[in-house]
Every structure is written in C-alpha cells, then in structure tokens.
C-alpha cells in the first residue's frame, strides 16, 4: 500500500462531476492518547481538501456484520492526511483502534454542514469529552485567519488528551471532573468573554460534547446574549441525508443531524435562557 493511496473511486467520481462515494483509503497512524482514546489518521486528498470544521467522516468496519457507518468529526488536517480522535466505546471503534499504518479502511465524506464562522468574531470553542475533535479542527482553521480570535475551553473526565493538539492553534483553558466542568470555566471567564476586547471582536460560542453539557452551554450563552452554535450527535443510518434516521428535535420540527446539521443554533434547538 505504498503507491495507490487514493481509491480510484474518488478520481472516477470527481471526474464525472459527482461527490465521491464510499472508498478505501490508507491508514497512516493509530496512536493511543489516553486509555481508550485513539488518534486515527488516514490519507485522503479529497477529504483533506474539502473538510470544514464540524463536518464528519463515516468509517466502515471490515466486518460486514457491522454494516452501519461510524461517524467521527474531523479533528485535524495536514496536507493529504485527515485525523480523527475517538473513544473506544463498542465493537467498531475497538476494531479501528486495532488497525495499523498501512491497513485499508473504507470512508465516506466529508459529510454534514459546518460551523458558521464567516464573520470575524472571538470564537469560543467549548468542548466536552469526545466532543472536542471538531473543535480542534475549528481551532486549526480559525488560527489560519487574521480576522478572528479563538479560545478553546475544554472539559475532560480525566486525561486532558486534546490540549496538546488544540493549544498549537489557539489559547486553551481546560478542566477535568476533579475540578468542575466547562461551565465552571465559562463562569471564571465571564468577564473576559463578555467584556469589550481590544480587537473589538464579539464572542461566538461553538460547542460540541455530551447533550446535557451542550444544553448548559447554550443556556449560559443565550443568557448573556452570546450566539451559540452546537454540533449534535445522533445514531445514523447513512450520514448523507437519505434515510432520515438521525433526527434531533428543533423548534422547526425534527431535523436531520447529518445533513440539516450537525450544527444547530441554541435558538433552533429551543435551548434559550
């Protein structure tokens, strides 16, 4: 697997004007960041070139008994390499964690919409647990721009596995369960976030993490008039918007996490103070 690192499917699809379907890519690195937390990198020029923060990639098991996709937010992009970070929670993630550089894996992506970061702002990336990967990528992309500021505010159960990655891109505050949670941190940072900044940038919260955490973040933000975008999770059948399996309840009815989201505003979710 030294030469053909790029599935012919992608070339065929893009040449014909289509989005690449499920295709095989080469795994280039699998590292354990903390017990049961894995950083997984594969080579995929297409996804690397197109992925935006909060977009995700479906990984597929080699075992056809495990048919459904495993969606993971893109965590970093480096040239043609795409990195994910995931927790080993079940059979699929256990299998991926056992893979080694040189193995092949089927992927589909990039999928879903992204955070809205058009306007210059002070983006506050509030992540909890395995919600942090897409925020690392948001940090990476925001750090390439001259018109915004960004701060990572991460809460962990114990090991602060992502700080080393995100802090390469942006100013990072983190906390673990022994001290509190992201709300503890946000409370501490309240003055900093709501006060006037020298650069005049207004805060916008981008958040991803367990639902109860995101709900708390949304309420905290809306109470203070801070716009808040939340990247949601739901069990998926397809990940590309065709099966309507992945719904979340919004004020406008049930929406698809994979294609209407995964990013929704606090207002859309009805999570307003």
């Amino acid at each position: 697997m030294s030469t053909a690192t790029f599935s012919p499917t992608v070339a065929q699809a893009t040449a014909a004007g289509y989005f690449p379907g499920r295709h095989a890519v080469e795994v280039t690195a699998v590292e354990e960041l903390a017990p049961g937390i894995v950083r997984f990198t594969f080579r995929d020029p297409y996804i690397a070139a197109h992925a935006r923060p909060a977009q995700f990639v479906n990984l597929f098991s080699h075992d056809p008994m495990r048919m459904l996709p495993r969606p993971f937010g893109v965590s970093e992009v480096d040239g043609e390499l795409v990195t994910l970070i995931f927790a080993v929670v079940g059979e699929g993630t256990a299998e991926f964690a056992r893979m080694r550089a040189g193995d092949a894996i089927d992927v589909l992506g990039p999928l879903g919409g992204s955070f809205t970061t058009k306007e210059p702002a002070h983006y506050v990336l509030v992540g909890g647990g395995l919600g942090v990967p897409p925020l690392i990528y948001a940090a990476q992309r925001l750090s390439e721009r001259g018109d915004c500021a960004a701060t990572a505010v991460f809460g962990y159960r114990d090991a602060r596995f992502a700080d080393g990655f995100v802090s390469r891109y942006v100013d990072t505050r983190s906390i673990d369960e022994s001290e509190g949670n992201v709300i503890t941190l946000l409370d501490r940072m309240e003055g900093e976030l709501t006060g006037e900044r020298a650069d005049g940038l207004r805060p916008v919260i981008l958040s991803c993490g367990p639902t109860p955490m995101m709900k708390a973040v949304a309420l905290w933000a809306t109470k203070r008039g801070i716009p808040c975008q939340l990247s949601m999770e739901q069990r998926m059948g397809c990940g590309y918007g065709t099966c309507v399996a992945c719904v979340v309840d919004t004020v406008d009815g049930r929406k698809k996490v994979c294609s209407d989201g995964p990013v929704f505003t606090a207002q859309q979710l009805g999570w307003e103070a």
């Binding site: 697997m1 053909a4 690192t5 012919p8 499917t9 065929q12 699809a13 040449a15 014909a16 289509y18 989005f19 379907g21 499920r22 095989a24 080469e26 597929f60 098991s61 080699h62 075992d63 056809p64 008994m65 495990r66 048919m67 459904l68 996709p69 299998e95 056992r98 893979m99 040189g102 193995d103 092949a104 589909l108 739901q234 069990r235 998926m236 059948g237 397809c238 590309y240 918007g241 065709t242 099966c243 309507v244 399996a245 992945c246 719904v247 979340v248 309840d249 009815g253 049930r254 294609s259």
Partner: protein, 323 residues
Amino acid sequence: MGGLTMETMQREPRINVYEPHEWRHGTVVAGVPWKNPVGTASGTFQLAACRWFYDVAQMGAICTKGVSPVPWEGNPGPRTAECPGGMVNAVGLQNPGVDHYLVDELPKLKQMGATVITNVAGHSDDDYAEVVAKLADSAADMLEINVSCPNVTHGGMSVGTDPVALSRLIERLRRITSKPMIVKLTPNVTDIAAIARAAAESGADALSLINTLVGMRIDIRTGEPIIANRTGGVSGPCVFPVALACVWRVRQALPDIPIIGIGGIDSGQKALEFLYAGANAVEVGAAALVDPTAPMRVARELDDLLDSRPELAAKLAAGQTWR
C-alpha cells in the same frame, strides 16, 4: 477480520459506476418500461441526497420515500440500531407531505428522466385516498402503496396484515387512479400469499416485497432498547433469505402478477436470485445507506450477469418472469 489490506481489496474488480453505460437488459413492470430491472427502495432514496453520488435517472426506477397527505414528524430519535448483517430502523415515515413532493422531488426526478415510483403512506384509508387522488394525474410512473410499515401505529402494517382491510383499501384506491399501482407487502404475517392474493384481487397491478421485519436491539449498558420507538424494522443483507422465500411463495401462489423483489440486495448476484425466484424486478434499500452508489452498482452487475442468461433476459425484456 483486520487482515484486509489495500492489496487484497484492489484485487476484487469493481465496476466504475460513473462510466456512461448502455443498458442491455431492460424490463417492463406492469406496463411501465424500466431501463434495467433495478430500482431504489422507498425510504432509502432522497433526490436531494443521492443526486450528488450518481446519475439517479439511470436506475430502472426511483422509488421515493413514503408521502402522506400532510407533513409527518415521524418518531423521536434514536431511530436506528445496527444488527448482525443489517440494521433496524423506526423512522416512522417522516416526510414533508404530498404537496411538497408534487412541487419538488417529483418534477425534479421527471426532469432528469427518471422512471418514478411514488411510495404512498397513510394512517387511515382516507389518508391513502387523499394522497393517491393528488398523485392520480401527476407525473409519477407508478404508485407503491405502503401497507407494511412496522413503525407507525395506525395504517401501515395494520392494514397489510389483514386481507379484509387491505382489500377494502385497494379497491377504493383502484377507483381513484388508473396509474400502475404496486402494493407493498410486509413479511410479518402468517401467510403472505393470502395477503398477496387479497391485494391482487382488489386491483393491484403489481406487488412489491418485502418491507422490513419487526426487530429490535437493546443496549446492554442500560438494559433499554436502543431505538426510542423500542422495536423497528430490520433490513439489509440479513433479511435476504426471508425476502427471497416471500417472493418465491407469492410467485407460486400467483403466477401472473408482476412482483418487485426487495430485501437485502447488495449485489447483482442477489438481484439475480430474486429474478430466478420469480420477481420481475428488484429494489435496493439499506445497501444504499452504507454505499451511496450501491443501487447503480447492483444494476450494472446484473446487466453483466444477464448477458450470459439470454433466456431470462428475454423474458424480462418481454415483461415476463422466470417462473
């Protein structure tokens, strides 16, 4: 597993579904010509999603998601769970309603040149009648009446498991439309041939089968069902032998009615088994969720397989079946 490396995978030849292709083996289902005998299955195709992956108009037919008289919200999430070789879903027929369909998905599909089967959902006979009436002079090529959804409390499977209720409904719909009308059957019955006969005798032009099997998964971390609706419908390769036997039994009971075989098809070979069981055509469902171009790949694989089966190909071309 594990040992699957790029080298191994590259050795398995794959069809290039993006290459322009001249279909060699078309068919005719209830009078409607199909470019090839492979359609998409309802609920696993949405134009807005699938059109980015392949030229959907090249399919034998496109069967769209069930439409109801008004928009439906469906069931709360989670709506899906994995099972060995398949999946369980309990979408509950969420859809934006027939009016939206008539101004959006249907005209777009017809504009692209697709042969369209419109799947019809209802909670009551009146619901079905209302939708069918609205579709009666639409551009849809065929209607597929879904009386087999296990994920709604009223309508759906409750009609499709009762020959009397089914006859009453199909007779009524028959009076509303002269469009080719397919009745989609559930496998969750004691005697599928009896239900099939009821549908045929009350005016169905064709039958499609199967819809999903009732199934569920439980999360052993919580002891509770994974799907919010608790049970759902099983589809994917795991249902293939059951679907095949359903088609076989209905074909044995009803030698003449066109049958669309559905269930677990993910290759040209599996499609071919359905044709040998007596189906006129097939639809590809869950396979498309995990490999968006699967329906097209199945169609292409089948086109190749039919080259070496001229007798079967000739029957299909004439709208006939193997048995």
